[in-house]
Amino acid sequence: MPALPDILFYVFAALTLLCGVLVVANPLSRSPVTSAMFLVLTIISMSGLFVLLHAFFLGIVQIIVYAGAVMVLFLFVIMLLDLKEEARRKFKFFGLGAGLISFAAIVFIMLKSLKSAAPDANNPAGDGDTAALGKLLFTQYTLPFEVVSVLLLVAMVGVILLCKKKLE
């Protein structure tokens, strides 16, 4: 009888991969809106995996930032652009072949390297509680933290500039 976290891992991993497949190649619908919705589901089940890894803060941040902010931005842009015509286009056979070959190659290489590396760290060591993460973030990583805030400001200025009707 496997333990509950192991069962939950398989459930969340299967959900993540299934929704990921449906983001990329949904057989029923080609529209970007369904892709965006399945991306939301992928992100939510991935935050379940984060919680199983005891990264509680990151699980919540994943839901708030990705499923909340980023995906709403995506849906706004999809709504802004009228993409009805895109739904009718077919997959290129060449693209499908190249994509599947590169998919298989990457999975093969990574699994092979995983097997040759044979990580022995199979018992969870750390307990990622939020207090320790915050302490680390504001002591050792203070400078990157501030730089990232400047980066967000720069991105905001850039977006406003890009979206202006006419550039002077």
């Binding site: 990329v24 890894l53 652009l81 993460l133 850039g158």
Partner: protein
């Protein structure tokens, strides 16, 4: 079977390859962008599982920064797509061939 580091890494690899498949297969700029997000997320999953099984929190701090940078990147990228759509009336990679010889 006991779930260890390999299981999480396998999920992360599969997700990364799915993102790559999407970038190659799909022709819509927005869906390509979503596949890029998928690849970023799979890297995040690998980092969090490394951090968990090594007992160090630095991986989680890195994931925190990756999420922030990804949010900024999405904002700028989508603004670029909107600006492109305004000029060309299309968000489809096959219509954007002005740099082709």
């Amino acid at each position: 079977m006991h779930v260890g580091l390999e299981h999480y890494l396998t999920v992360s690899f599969l997700l990364f390859s799915l993102g790559l498949l999407g970038v190659i297969l799909r022709r819509n700029l927005l869906v390509i962008y979503m596949s890029l997000e998928l690849m970023l997320n799979s890297a995040n999953l690998a980092l969090v599982s490394f951090s968990r099984f090594n007992g160090k929190l630095d991986g989680q701090v890195l994931v925190f920064f990756i999420i922030t940078v990804a949010a900024a990147e999405v904002a700028v990228g989508l603004a670029l797509i909107v600006a492109l759509y305004r000029k060309r009336q299309s968000a489809h990679v096959e219509d954007l061939t002005s740099m082709k010889l």
